[in-house]
Symmetry: C2
Subunit: 339 residues, 2 copies
Amino acid sequence: MVTITIKDVAALAGVSVATTSRVLSGNPATSADARSRVQAAVAELDYRPNAQARALRSTRTHAIGLLVPDVRNPFFADLAHTVEQAALVHGFVTLLGNANERKDQQDRYLDNLIARRVDGIIVAPLGDGSGSIRSVVGREIPAVFIDRTIEGIDLPSVTTDSDTGIREAVDHLAALGHTRIGYIAGPQSTSTGRERYASFVRAAGDRGLSLDPALIVFGDFQPESGSAAVRTLLALNEPPTALLVADSPMAFGAIGAIQKLGLRIGTDVALVSFDDIDWLALLDPPVSVIAHSVADMGRIAVDMLRTVIDGGTPESVRLPSRLIIRGSSATPVDPSRSR
Amino acid sequence: MVTITIKDVAALAGVSVATTSRVLSGNPATSADARSRVQAAVAELDYRPNAQARALRSTRTHAIGLLVPDVRNPFFADLAHTVEQAALVHGFVTLLGNANERKDQQDRYLDNLIARRVDGIIVAPLGDGSGSIRSVVGREIPAVFIDRTIEGIDLPSVTTDSDTGIREAVDHLAALGHTRIGYIAGPQSTSTGRERYASFVRAAGDRGLSLDPALIVFGDFQPESGSAAVRTLLALNEPPTALLVADSPMAFGAIGAIQKLGLRIGTDVALVSFDDIDWLALLDPPVSVIAHSVADMGRIAVDMLRTVIDGGTPESVRLPSRLIIRGSSATPVDPSRSR
DNA sequence: CATCAGCTTGGAAACGTTTCCACTTGACGC
DNA sequence: GCGTCAAGTGGAAACGTTTCCAAGCTGATG
């Protein structure tokens, strides 16, 4: 592995290392002559500055870390994409880490991002405020929360207000005659899991719908838990006539399980899912969803992080969510089946 | 941003910087006493070694770069996940880059990975052998191709043999009575786009099916091009009775377009897609796919890269593909409609 | 003609590690 | 009791940059 350093470039260009460095980093105190000779040498040697050495000296890496709980969840894949594109515009490269919905892996990546001295971190966290997230705060490393937060950790955040969307969904289902709505909740170890759960309970209570605890099943945001929840819920003596699912991977599992039971969403059981994932609209019938804007979320997170990096303290942002009605929740409850 | 260095740790532990370094990097030439005192100091100060400085000196970063063309394509999201998990097992952290199917962004990320001096690079490349990929090879940076390759760039690779799966699909469709199969091809600037196209032409020719050039439309592996292709193909005077699609995002677009035309896959037009993406099985009817193993591909790529890093020269691997028949291609051609 | 400002330049220190080398210490075999 | 050896240690060089500082040069100014 051949190594070309700034010294080689300087020698070939016939100038000092200092001048070469100035040319490379765009320092204006350079002559046109020096600039052109250095650039020629760089091209000839295919020289690439060593980012480690550069960062070591200048304490700036031009990199940000993005830590998501699960890249395979299309919501987070989208988020990764928008964050990355937004960061690129501002000259930051994104190091994407995948916590795999596991606290130990999250800590491992956080440690790594700290060790790499990234300029800032955007994290959709899981777990409580223990572990490496505490080190991030302790070192005053610029960081923002995205999508999720951690109670007791005071960082700026951009999140979704689940209340509006979930209330719309509950009202909509109630208007169709549903009185027993099953709720497939996310893990209560995540802020989104807790919030959406609270929103649902509040909305259902306000509407006077059944709050039978058997109607609420807790999953882990992964497909298999969605399937299991459906099997549990539809086996009840008084099964729900509608389902609300807290994220799209669980909705995926839920829909698969419903099909396997020989039932049809929309007609046999209404279904609404959180997250407007594109393929949900392709199903037959298309699935009603509670949508929130991934694009805004990514862009805002990057802007907020840049503010923190520059020494500011941005306000946290809460984005709205709203119901999109499709075929999976368009049919009024069949009175012969209700009760 | 408080900075704690190894000197602080050494001072607190009452040993030299050299000894501290040895303890931290697990060098056996240390006394139990030194080890425990250093560890106590590390814990007390919440010290994290500076990865830049460490890498600068030791020329090992324990990081690998993974460059995919599009994280939002579930196939690559899965791939990212498996590569990352496999790398983690061997102590490597993965820096994930997203080329966004654009050569300039691919080059930008490659430059960045080179500059960061990652220990190795796994890349699903696009474009020809120009640009930064040449620098990677020129510097003899350990690298392997995954999924795709570039002609003229001699790197070990793990790819899918599209021939078997596509031949099975064509045979299967022909057996159902289809004589005019439409093919929605990937971009010819990618090796997978070219290969799958060639496999299709060969298989269709061998089976004596129509090779009408109008039946082949070239897309760009993105959903919109799949929709556009469907609109073109189904507007032909003699439209195809079956469609074969070269990747799942285009299949997504294609299916949406078919629905919008008021047609049903399976009955009105048969459809088979490359890539076994989970939600394709949830559609009604479920979509037949040509599957290949993402898990194997990721694991093998990491193993191959490790071999290269250790100075070896692994053999390239070609994984098989195979047809999975589902409802979207289960109905024989209606003789009243054919011709 | 001396002085000065402004531009450009090079030497050298610094960033935080790892690792080479030399040194001390105590145990061991003879 | 002496030489030999292994284990543990610390000082200092090195990794490849950036940046501070001092200094050289040019042309203009008084």
